[in-house]
Amino acid sequence: MADDPLSTTFAALADPTRRAILTRLARGEATVKELAEPFDMSLQAISQHLKVLERAGLITRGRDAQYRPCRFESAPLEEAVGWIERNRKVWTDRFDQLEQHLRTIQRGQTTDGTAAVPEPTTTKEEHDR
């Protein structure tokens, strides 16, 4: 499995319990014990999830040796969401522009019999079908 930051974020978010933990922490910091209560899970199981979230940079933990309260960190999530949004925009624009380009070259072919841009030689015969 890839270990780049974005994949780590996605992997950490793949688990519904971890997303629920983050949703809870988005409202304010909490201890492991407080987090364990609503989930009907052992402290150990919760701790495992917290370790994954911590490695992904999605939470940080306080220094208090006994309680180590967990705090939500939004930066990696914003990074992941940002990537999705940027990627979506690239493909939306690309599709829009391809639509425009296809219109242009097809219009070119019908009005003066030539394409607006050179056709690839290997596929020329296919275009005129």
Binding site: M1, A2, D3, D4, L6, S7, F10, A11, L13, A14, D15, P16, R19, L22, T23, A26, R27, F72, S74, L77, E78, A80, V81, W83, I84, N87, R88, K89, V90, W91, T92, D93, R94, F95, Q97, L98, E99, Q100, H101, L102, R103, T104, I105, Q106, V117, P118, E119, P120, T123, E126, H127, R129
Partner: protein, 149 residues
Amino acid sequence: MSETPQLGEVTYTRIYDAPRELVFDCMITPEHLTHFWGPVGVSTPVENIKVDPRPGGVFETIMVNDETGEEYPSRGVFVEVTRPEKLVWTEPDVEGGMTTTSTFRDLGDGRTEVTVHQTNVPEMFRTPEAQAGMQSSFDRFAAYVVTQK
């Protein structure tokens, strides 16, 4: 345009009023690509596009920001080239090896449906459990959490 909200995967679909062969060729021909590859505000000069449409062949572009001149190189390698139905390339440099699969469906009335499916893709995202858990929840969750700041 529709998108699946699956975590780590995206799907984009568009229908073009053009024959399938032409749409397919636009995706593998520098002289065509230069006209639409950009997003808005970004150009892809034809001399910056290398396409060798066969398995193992390169698919490289350098997009250039129109305002700042900043360059965005992209290095892809074709995995499958089946004209005019399917085009698959991977980008080893991107987010742990993103794979882009484009399928071209002839709608029978002169139109072509293009579907671009990208996976970026830790193996675990493909388990049924992960798929079920991730359906749509990520987008809602992410949108929610980011507004909580």
